[in-house]
């Protein structure tokens, strides 16, 4: 098995290429079988690999061929496989397979069925390359590959201008981070002479002291790349707009896998970050700030997918917090459980949107509990896990993060309190969603219920979201062990009880209505605060004013070619002179005579004014 791990990314890639070349000539059932089957085979292979790995714990290094060789720089097409890779691959192929299956029903009526699966398979292949890469350059290839697929899929319904705009926004904003990341890679290469991750971290340990300048700069540049890809402050603005894509795409790319690539990158290069404590603190602060910012924003959204998008940003913020405080395995654990429950929530919202004539506004839904039972239970379980209610998967991972954040020196308790506030908000907004959409009166009648191709993935993900917390992720060999100390018991009790309080608050406000917030919401302060949160703290507007508008202005100026206008001036002068002179050639004799007389008078006057003896 260990020699054939290259098959896992290759199969979806081949399927993608096939669909691109002959997809339009295949029947829809064949396209579906190819698209879902290829990822299914990858998932099976991953499962085999996982069972083998569980027995012998053997790290696999597989070098296929040398990509290029220039002056000692020889990145290979080579894969590296350890516990961390296994977790990522399981999420990508496993959740990916379920989402592919879901898509066959969701996209059934779409004319571009084959194109959809071609992109989706391509995405899976690129994401697998990203996590299996042995060196940072190959990782970067996968990194850009998933970026392109994300762009293509966000703009999948390109007939609408807004979708194309959202796709471009997603691509360009992440590109800002990617540029910084490329600079980081170049810096690492010039300093260490290799991009091979395992060799590199070994050399870094010997070359640099903890807290040295170069690793700090390199790590900060890598963080920029991670921030762009994982939609953290200040580059998070693309993710809510990326919801323009089909909902299964949001589930796969913008919740479960691609947006967590930044988390993976930092975890993969964690030995470098251990040399740069400043960079780690930056990661933690970015994470917790983003988490709170996005949670407040999610409270006010009315579009079901935007709520989930902001909650994704918020949850990735928790992962960043975990990485920043050195809780590596907790971060990766949260990545996995988040992939389960967020994919579940997104697919659930996809089912609702599918059955409710593409309705996105949660206040036009309502009372769907009895109409769509499978979806209702998906949301109940998914939201419980998202809110980290005890015994769900999200509880185990988030609890670990909060407890380890508490133990972080100096700012630890502060991070913990902020994290608790975020957890409270998470519980409120996720159950606001549940109560508004599934309880109360029916506002829009669904025209159908979910078919089996939607219900099966939802049920499996429900199961995973429930029991995912008991999985032992095999990363103890990858990350340094934590010191194993626990904070005082009261810290733990508070961490557990906060989400329950959040759910109660949501219950009182949005279900029974006993807790009146209208007065607060209708006061001028409440209104302006609500508006601010609805617009995501006005960051989009700020960027629009700061970057987009000036850029458009400059482009418009350049459109008229100011430099060319300078050369054009010579032409204009000549043309004007020519017009003057040619108008003198009028054929009117009296004008000729008059101008001759005028000239004569001029000459005589000049001659008369000449000084004495000049002639």
């Amino acid at each position: 098995m260990s020699e054939t791990i290259w098959l896992i990314p290759l199969i979806p890639l081949l399927s993608s290429v096939t669909l691109m070349l002959v997809g339009t000539r295949l029947k829809a059932s064949q396209v579906g079988a190819l698209g879902v089957g290829s990822v299914g085979i990858s998932a099976l292979l991953t499962l085999l690999l996982a069972t083998e790995f569980m027995q012998n714990q053997q790290v696999i290094q597989l070098s296929l061929w040398t990509w290029m060789e220039v002056a000692g720089f020889a990145p290979g097409i080579s894969f590296y496989f350890d516990g961390l890779t296994l977790v990522m691959m399981s999420v990508i192929t496993g959740v990916g397979f379920l989402i592919h299956l879901f898509s066959t029903e969701f996209m059934e009526k779409d004319p571009s069925y084959a194109r959809y699966f071609a992109y989706l398979n391509m995405f899976v292949a690129a994401m697998l390359v990203l996590v299996m890469a042995d060196n940072l350059l190959l990782l970067y290839l996968g990194w850009e590959g998933v970026g392109v697929c994300s762009y293509l899929l966000v703009g999948f319904w390109y007939q609408h201008n807004a979708n194309g705009y959202a796709a471009r926004k997603a691509f360009i904003v992440t590109r800002i981070g990617d540029t910084a990341m490329a600079m980081g890679l170049l810096l690492l290469f010039t300093e260490l002479g290799t991009l091979d991750i395992q060799t590199m971290v070994g050399e870094a340990d010997q070359t640099w002291q903890v807290g040295a300048t170069v690793p700090t700069i390199a790590c900060l540049l890598l963080v920029c790349g991670a921030v762009g890809k994982s939609a953290q402050l200040p580059l998070h603005t693309w993710l809510p707009d990326a919801m323009a894509g089909p909902t299964p795409v949001s589930a796969l790319i913008h919740a479960a896998t691609m947006v967590t690539a930044g988390v993976y990158l930092i975890a993969r290069t964690h030995e470098l970050f251990l040399l740069a404590p400043i960079a780690m603190t930056v990661v933690a602060v970015i994470g917790i700030t983003t988490s709170l910012m996005a949670a407040f924003t999610a409270l006010m959204q009315t579009d079901i997918k935007r709520i989930l998008a902001y909650s994704t940003i918020s949850q990735i913020g928790y992962m960043f917090l975990a990485l920043g405080v050195g809780a590596w395995s907790a971060g990766i654990f949260h990545l996995m459980t988040h992939a389960f429950f967020k994919a579940l929530l997104f697919l659930g919202s996809g089912a609702i949107i599918h059955c409710l004539h593409h309705e996105h506004n949660i206040f036009k839904m309502g009372g769907l509990r009895t109409r769509m039972p499978v979806t209702f239970w998906s949301f109940m379980i998914g939201s419980s896990a998202l809110a980290a209610l005890p015994m769900t998967s999200g509880f185990f991972s988030k609890d670990q993060i909060l407890l380890q954040a508490y133990q972080f020196p100096e700012i630890g308790p502060g991070l913990w309190v902020a994290g608790l506030l975020g957890a409270l908000l998470t519980a409120i907004y996720s159950f606001r969603l549940v109560f508004v959409v599934f309880f109360g009166s029916v506002n829009t009648e669904p025209d159908k219920d979910t078919g089996w191709r939607m219900a099966v993935p939802l049920s499996i993900l429900c199961l995973l979201a429930m029991v995912g917390g008991w999985f032992m992720i095999p990363v103890s060999e990858v990350f340094p062990a934590s010191d194993g100390s626990h904070p005082a018991h009261w810290v733990e009790y508070v961490s557990i009880s906060v989400p329950i309080v959040g759910v109660l608050v949501a219950y009182l406000i949005f279900y029974t209505g006993q807790l009146k917030v209208d007065r607060l919401a209708n006061s001028s302060f409440g209104k302006s605060l609500g508006k601010l949160w609805l617009s995501g703290w006005g960051i989009d507007l700020l960027y629009d004013r700061l970057f987009v508008k000036p850029y458009y202005g400059l482009a418009n100026k350049l459109k008229s070619e100011p430099v060319d206008a300078l050369y054009g001036l010579i032409v204009t002068i000549n043309q004007t002179l020519n017009q003057w002179l040619s108008s003198a050639q009028s054929g009117r004799m009296r004008w000729y005579i008059a101008s001759m007389v005028a000239g004569l008078i001029l000459v005589i006057m000049l001659a008369a004014n000449l000084p004495e003896g000049a002639l």
Binding site: Q585, S586, G587, R588, M589, R590, I593
Partner: protein, 104 residues
């Protein structure tokens, strides 16, 4: 030779006035015949100045040039009238502005 003694300046003034009148006629008249006549007036103004100058300095050159101007004027009128006939024949008008065939 002392019956009529007019100062040179006065004659030159008359000559200038004649020249100016001729030139003005040239500029404001549209009929080609009048233009030719204005030309004659200008030529004669110049001739008068020559004659006066010749008399003032007692030199014969002025009168020689006068004879020359006379012949030039005669030749000019001969050619000019020939042109007038052609213009009348082609354009059915003697108005020089109407005879303009340029677009500008």
């Amino acid at each position: 030779m002392d019956g009529l003694n007019i100062p040179l300046n006065h004659i030159l003034l008359v000559s200038s006035l004649l020249f100016a009148i001729g030139m003005l006629g040239l500029m404001i008249r549209r009929n080609i015949i009048f233009i030719l006549m204005s030309l004659e007036v200008m030529l004669n103004a110049a001739a008068l100045a020559f004659v006066a100058a010749g008399a003032h300095w007692g030199q014969p050159d002025g009168q020689v040039v006068f004879m020359l101007i006379l012949t030039v004027a005669a030749a000019e009128v001969a050619v000019g009238l020939g042109l007038v006939l052609q213009v009348q024949k082609r354009f059915k008008t003697l108005d020089m502005d109407d005879a303009n065939r340029m677009q500008g």
